[in-house]
């Protein structure tokens, strides 16, 4: 008796790829009534667990079910917003997903085993349980543990998929529950605060700005802290007071080389102090060399690639904002070129055959020779970071693909992933560093010289820079000389820049809000909601000695197709194009910086004014929620406990907000909408 297995993936492209891998091409495709994207793929396969099977592989389109409040709470006027903390939540299938759900139910009736093939992360686990619950409506037996299983896979490469297919595991209920908890909390907290904020502030905002359009002020427990970071930096920049600073510069010419020595104290903010110290240097007349040290030094190759790192580098080097980078990476994953792009792991498992992956990259692309050299003995085990989410390896290329067959954006991201991976498998760059210290009067001055001896990983990874400095003349310890030139100089402190996307991502990561999977979405949301705007950062003055950052070659046209030259031309577009208020997403000129709108500032200031326990714009509430999610995954807390704890925390804030609503209104009122003001705080010419 042939066993019938129903496989369900998260997206149609995955279903198609897996079906073809397993079936070796012998696949029969059937349409699904009501939806043009989802297909049912029928084929035979011999699973070790069940023997020869007749398989139907299909997919859903992301989440199958969604959650809504009981209809009686639907209208905003129907209840006090705080009632939503306890209101009943229904699980429903939205209209556009109904055909997909129907397909699953129908197919379920014919099959004995349900095999889940959703992506292996928390959301995927949750979607897996949704699929199971819908499938169970068509076939009760799926509820029994042995009849529903799950595939564990990290990329869409053939051998990997076949291997995964042969070793099914159980769905991870804990992870699924963590996501359910998050969904419930986001719904309850998001809705109650959104309604409350909007109803409290809307009348006043409308009056001030004179607009008819009613504006919804939406709240999200992660968006607000993200907004908080942007606003805080903005205010820091606006309030900044430049101060004068003083330093001492010593230059000595020897062997026809001009050597600049840096003051060990850097600079001081008291003029008199510096004058006195400087005078003592001059009085001493000569300087004595106290240390001459030459030692080998290296620039470490990069760590294996995580999602956060990909997003940061995407912003810095690839001129793609974090949301776009993740979309492109997702496409590359679905096509089978790179591994699953949502991972926190920055260490490669010892057992992984990295050489085989390097071997694949010798087939073409600008890195062919480098990959070949690695195979010929240059290979070196990658560094290990400290993180391992136990679900997926670091992002790496899985197969070889001719770059020209990818879209222009895909090429940029793919190239980055390949180069990063090859760099990980190379040696550190090596050099020799000479450090010299002198004692001049009572003050110490230092200088250093670098000779880069071996580029190693830098040859394949142009995103890092390390160049030899000028040669240093010979100095001996104990040598005494009279410096050619010694003078005092004056400078000024300058304000920090507005937050750029890589900085924002780094802050979110450091403060524990947003997971790798969601950070980009939260950033996109605050742009969508008009809380912030982006603009290209003006080119800044290069400091002396500062390395120039990697610039990608600018494309003539997006998606120019095959045969595009890969020259590193410096014809980059000027960053100031279009100035101010453009919507940031996907812009490719210059690093984007975030400027809050007047509404964004008003909300943050309003909450700041209400006192520290209420501050929704600080990260700690969300951070604690994220930690509780983790506890559910690790089995230390139940979903019910976490939902209860978080609701209580936010309810507390809700009550305090109510008590001090006037304060919030006052601040929002002053900052927003003097008639005619359109919410743009910084002009394009600044």
């Amino acid at each position: 008796m042939v066993t019938k297995v129903l496989c369900v993936a998260e997206k149609p492209s995955i279903a198609k790829a897996v079906a073809n891998h397993l079936a070796g091409g012998q696949v029969q495709t059937r349409n699904v009534q009501g939806n043009p994207y989802v297909k049912n793929y029928e084929f035979s396969y011999n699973f070790p667990t069940w023997g020869q099977c007749s398989v139907t592989m299909t997919s859903v389109l992301g989440h199958l079910t969604s959650h809504e409040f009981d209809p009686q709470y639907k209208s905003w006027r129907s209840c006090d917003p705080s009632a939503l903390f306890e209101a009943r939540i229904d699980t429903i299938v939205e209209d556009d997903k109904k055909p997909v759900a129907e397909n699953i139910k129908r197919q379920a009736a014919y099959n004995k085993v349900l095999y889940i093939w959703t992506d292996c992360d928390r959301e995927g686990e949750n979607i897996g349980t949704e699929i199971r619950s819908v499938a169970t409506q068509g076939n009760q037996s799926f509820r029994q543990p042995g009849n529903t299983v799950r595939a564990r896979f990290s990329n869409i490469e053939r051998a990997h998929i076949i291997n995964a297919a042969r070793s099914p595991v159980q769905l991870d209920e804990a992870q699924s529950n963590a996501v359910s908890a998050r969904i419930e909390l986001d719904l309850r907290i998001g809705a109650s605060f959104t309604r409350n904020l909007t109803m409290s502030l809307q009348p006043m905002l409308q009056q001030r700005s004179g607009e008819d359009r009613s504006q919804v002020i939406s709240y999200g427990s992660c968006q607000f802290p993200t907004l908080g970071f942007v606003v805080e930096r903005y205010i820091r920049v606006r309030n900044f007071v430049p101060e004068t600073l003083w330093g001492i510069k010593v230059m000595h010419e020897k062997d026809r080389i001009k050597v600049n020595f840096n003051w060990a104290r850097g600079h001081l903010f008291d003029r008199m102090a510096v004058i006195i110290l400087f005078e003592r240097c001059l009085t001493a007349k000569t300087a004595r060399v106290t240390k001459v040290q030459t030692k080998p030094t290296s620039k470490w190759k990069p760590l294996p690639l995580t999602t956060v790192e990909l997003q940061k580098c995407g912003s810095r080097f690839l001129r793609l904002d974090s949301q776009r980078v993740m979309q492109v990476a997702e496409q590359l994953y679905q096509k089978g070129w790179i591994s699953y792009p949502r991972t926190e792991t920055d260490q490669f498992d010892r057992g992984m055959d990295l050489r085989a992956l390097v071997q694949k990259q010798t087939q073409g692309g600008p890195w062919t020779q480098f990959a070949q050299d690695l195979m010929n003995g240059g290979f070196s085990q990658p560094r290990s970071g400290r993180n391992n989410d136990k679900a997926h390896p670091p992002i790496h290329p899985v197969n070889f693909v001719v770059p020209a067959s990818l879209s222009q954006e895909e090429q940029r991201v793919h190239e980055f992933v390949v180069r990063r991976f090859l760099a990980c498998c190379s040696q550190d760059a090596r050099g020799s560093k000479t450090e010299i210290s002198i004692l001049y009067g009572s003050e110490i001055f230092n200088t250093s010289g670098l000779v880069v001896l071996e580029q190693n990983y830098l040859d394949v990874y142009p995103y890092d820079k390390w160049t030899s400095s000028q040669d240093l003349p010979d100095f001996r310890e104990g040598e005494v000389f009279e410096p050619t030139e010694a003078r005092m100089n004056e400078g000024q402190t300058s304000p920090p820049g507005y937050l750029t996307e890589p900085e924002l991502i780094a802050l979110m990561d450091a403060n524990g809000i947003g997971t790798d999977a969601t950070m980009a979405e939260h950033i996109a949301k605050i742009k969508d909601r008009d809380y912030v705007q982006t603009r290209p950062r003006a080119r800044q003055q290069r400091q002396q000695g500062e390395e120039e950052e990697y610039e990608p070659a600018e494309a003539a046209e997006p998606d120019a197709g095959a045969g595009r030259g890969r020259g590193r031309g410096r014809a980059r577009a000027r960053g100031g194009r279009g100035g101010g208020a453009g919507r940031g997403g996907g812009a490719t000129t210059g690093v984007q910086e975030f400027i809050p709108t007047t509404l964004g500032v008003a909300l943050v200031e309003g909450y700041e004014n209400m006192g520290f326990e209420t501050s929704l714009t600080k990260p700690f509430l969300r951070k604690e929620m994220e930690l509780r999610m983790k506890a559910i995954c690790e089995g230390r807390k139940t979903k019910a406990e976490v939902v209860h704890e978080s609701i209580e925390q936010y309810r507390d804030v809700y009550i305090r907000t109510q008590q001090r609503l006037d304060s919030l209104r006052a601040v929002t009122g002053t900052l927003v909408g003097t008639p005619g003001q359109n919410g743009i705080l910084v002009s394009g010419t600044e």
């Binding site: 805080e232 820091r236 900044f240 007071v241 101060e243 600073l245 104290r265 850097g266 600079h267 001081l268 903010f269 008291d270 008199m272 102090a273 004058i275 006195i276 005078e279 003592r280 009085t283 009572s442 890092d464 402190t493 900085e503 780094a506 802050l507 990561d509 450091a510 403060n511 400091q543 500062e546 390395e547 700041e608 520290f612 600080k618 990260p619 700690f620």
Partner: protein
């Protein structure tokens, strides 16, 4: 000091004789470079029990004296105070033997911009340094070679101090190398004994070997200093 050793070696009860007790306490305080005025001693003697162990009395006396304003509580002499022309900026360099006892009236971290110090205070006021509620605002960039800006916000010193001797004279001093106990968390009104130091253009240059930290504090000054600090820093920055 011979006298100090002599008294420390006799951990006996006080003789009960007020005069002897006062003399021994005075001598002890003098050995610590804070010789009390008669008026202060009288005030102190009226608060003690004569049969307390002498070492305890000495310690208590020192503790209390260190909490006073030395311009009123210790005896003055030219040898123990600054010369009148010490702040003369025309004098390039001068060497002073001391020992001179001073109290700290003000202290500034001149290695950091005042604005960054204001920001640090504001972050603390917003509760961002409270345990469990910390907000990280600057993430060290692995690739950044700009060490100067990274360390600027965390550096401590060098420090510039405003010192006052027993005559009430104000003098500025600067740490040449870091001195233990000197920093913006030190108490205003703390007492120091300075020895063998250089004065350059009217500013004392201090190193650990020049400074003996006696400690102590002037409560009201310290409190006011801390309350006003943010405002003062803001004014100085502008």
């Amino acid at each position: 000091m011979a006298s100090q050793r002599q008294y420390a070696a006799t951990p006996a009860m006080a003789s009960g004789n007020a005069e002897d007790v006062a003399a021994s306490i005075s001598a002890f305080l003098a050995s610590k470079h804070v010789p009390p005025t008669q008026a202060w001693m009288n005030g102190f003697m009226s608060t003690i029990r004569l049969n307390t162990p002498i070492v305890a009395l000495q310690k208590t006396a020192l503790f209390r004296l260190l909490a006073t304003d030395i311009t009123t509580s210790i005896t003055k002499s030219p040898a123990s105070c600054f010369a009148a022309n010490i702040t003369d900026p025309q004098v390039k360099e001068k060497h002073v033997r001391g020992p001179i006892t001073v109290q700290v009236l003000d202290i500034e971290d001149i290695g950091r911009s005042r604005w960054s110090q204001v920001e640090a205070i504001e972050a603390q006021e917003r509760g961002e340094t409270t345990k469990g509620r910390e907000v990280i605002r600057v993430v060290p960039d692995e690739n950044s070679s700009d060490a100067a800006t990274q360390t600027e916000s965390k550096s401590s010193g060098p420090h510039k101090l405003l010192l006052q001797d027993a005559y009430g004279m104000h003098v500025y001093a600067m740490e040449l190398t870091p001195i233990n106990g000197v920093g913006v968390q030190m108490a205003i009104g703390a007492k120091l004994v300075l020895k063998d130091f250089i004065v350059a253009r009217g500013v004392l240059l201090l190193e650990p070997r020049n400074v003996e930290m006696l400690g102590g504090k002037a409560d009201t000054w310290d409190k006011k200093w801390r309350e006003d600090r943010k405002k003062v820093l803001k004014e100085k920055a502008a």
